[in-house]
Amino acid sequence: MSGADIELRKVHKVYYKDRLEIPVLEGLDLDIAAGEFVVLMGPSGSGKSTLLHLIGALDSPTAGSVRVGDARLETMSERQRTAWRSRHVGFIFQMYHLVPVLTAAQNVELPLLLFKMSASDRRERVKTALDIVGLAERADHRPNQLSGGQEQRVAIARAIVTDPDAILADEPTGDLDAKTSTEILELLNLLNAEFGKTILMVTHDPRAASYGRRTLHLDKGVLSREETRAVRPPAAAASG
């Protein structure tokens, strides 16, 4: 398992609403090395989520280039981006977005349904992912039988089950209490330190930001500030 490096050059993103142009990113240049844990911070409307979406191939830039590993995302069609995304990126959202009628294992299995894989191989990978996040014993539980932290762990398992190059997390602890947030952040740190995953995390929480090797501050679509800190060693293995 390993991560991919990310490179953005002169990236512009403009949204159009009722014929009004709304620039969100203005000539952004950014480099993220493979296996790095980077945090994005900034006020609302600064372009953090937009940047995440561009790197995750959920959207395409109005101008400029976005490279993740060997892939030039700005040259891809929507269909190509979707196919690329399924193999190379794992998403974690603030609200978890698990399917309520599926068990934890079935939720984690969802991305694997896009690949030609036997049912036994899928089961094996799901088990591995749930083991990593410490929820193997909750595999048959539905989301309404899990705590918020456990739901987010399932979402993380879903994000890593395809062994993506990069994990993109949009406010992963936004809906959690302090103790549970720490558990989730420790898990992300583990994925980065032990499995070499490139992690890009958007957050408003300075405490969460302290887990990143680098913190990038966005303001009005441009990088205004950058902080670097020492690599934080992962805590003991994640507990359920």
Binding site: F91, L110, P111
Partner: protein, 382 residues
């Protein structure tokens, strides 16, 4: 499929809203199909009915039969003519009138060849003045079997009470409500009671072809035009239709009902699917974020709609068809319809219609899901 369990109450109510109309749909279409089968049967029998132009209750003279027969002395167009007189009998101390008719003894077995009387039964019919041929429904209702003696009292003058002996119980559904006996027995008994009236309400003519039926129809009415006994000749389907229309345009009503049923369940299913789609917008956005192509998301939503429709159809159609199959309603008297049996055409057609309704009602939500802007949908939900 598991998403159908997301809101069990809503899905359950939608399934019931689907099931009940589909059950009615099966019964309605079975009725229409049965009518079609009966009509086809009558058409094959090539019988032409001749009655008074004004009303069936005005009988025609007995001599009309001879005049009809004289139109075709070589018997190249007609096989036989059978005069019938309404008796309107009922079992004493009951209220239900049985469709009972006195028929010409010599030609009844020929004109009503679909009654399929055996040579022995014909011989008994010719020999026994009190012999009768009974339809399955009254036989079942009153427990009559071959050889039984029974009494019917007439509801028309001279209100005779006649005794009969059962020679045959009919098993064909087109004749299930009928009761035939010898008209000469009726005429003689009426004479004994003081009423000498050998007239007939209708003459049935067994024709040899459709062309023969049509030509005889015109010739007979032309023969009696401008006479006190003006006739109206019509084939058996047209004759029966008069009775059906007296009760309203039942086939048309059934068809209209079926169309309304399909329309209503399409609306219900479509509404449910739109509600489901709106609820699942963030989830569908995540599917796309994970890597599900738009076409696949379209199929997921469409499949859910189809499954809901088929599930509703299953819980409506299967019980309805099973009940109709195991306990077919007997004793109906809607024109020629004496009973209602499940039509497998109706059952198969109902499933096909349910499938189509599921597809049509799921198309718009599926299209919306396919076109969902992932980033916008994710942004909306935080």
């Amino acid at each position: 499929m598991q998403n159908l369990r997301r809101n069990p109450l809503r899905m359950g109510l939608t399934a019931v809203a689907f099931a009940l109309p589909m059950a009615i749909f099966v019964a309605a279409i079975s009725f229409v199909v049965t009518l079609g089968e009966v009509a086809a049967h009558f058409q094959r029998q090539l019988r032409l009915g001749v009655h008074h132009r004004t009303t069936l209750t005005n009988p025609l003279p007995e001599g009309v039969r001879r005049k009809i027969e004289e139109l075709d002395p070589e018997r190249s167009r007609l096989t036989a003519v059978c005069g019938m007189r309404w008796f309107g009998g009922r079992v004493p101390d009951t209220q239900n009138t049985i469709t009972s008719l006195g028929a010409d003894v010599d030609t009844f077995p020929t004109v009503y060849s679909d009654v399929e009387m055996t040579p022995e039964e014909i011989e008994a019919w010719n020999r026994e003045r009190q012999g009768c041929v009974v339809g399955g429904n009254p036989a079942t209702l009153y427990g009559w079997e071959v050889g039984d003696r029974l009494v019917l009292e007439s509801t028309v003058p001279p209100y005779l009470k006649l005794e009969f002996r059962v020679l045959k119980v009919l098993d064909n559904k087109e004749r299930a409500n009928f009761f035939y006996f010898r008209r000469d027995y009726l005429v003689e008994s009426s004479k004994d009671a003081g009423l000498n009236d050998p007239r007939c309400n209708v003459f049935w003519i067994k024709c040899k072809s459709q062309a023969a039926l049509r030509s005889l129809q015109q010739e007979i009415d032309a023969l009696f035009a401008n006479s006190p006994d003006e006739t109206r000749s019509e084939d058996e389907n047209a004759f029966v239709a008069n009775f059906l229309q007296a009760a309203g345009d039942i086939p048309g009503l059934m068809r209209a009902m079926a169309v309304v049923v399909v329309f209503v369940i399409a609306l219900v299913a479509g509404n449910t699917m739109m509600m489901s789609f709106r609820e699942r917008t963030p989830e569908l956005a995540v599917f796309k974020a994970i890597g599900f192509q738009s076409g696949r998301v379209f199929l997921i939503v469409l499949a859910e709609s189809v499954m809901l429709a088929m599930f509703g159809a299953l819980i409506g159609i299967v019980p309805a068809a099973t009940v109709l199959y195991l306990f077919p309603p007997r004793g109906l008297a809607v024109g020629p319809i004496s009973g209602l049996e499940v039509s497998w055409i109706a059952v198969g057609g109902s499933f096909v219609i349910s499938l189509l309704v599921g597809i049509v009602s799921g198309l718009w939500p599926a299209y919306q899901a396919m076109r969902l802007q992932t980033t916008r949908a994710l942004r909306r939900t935080g």
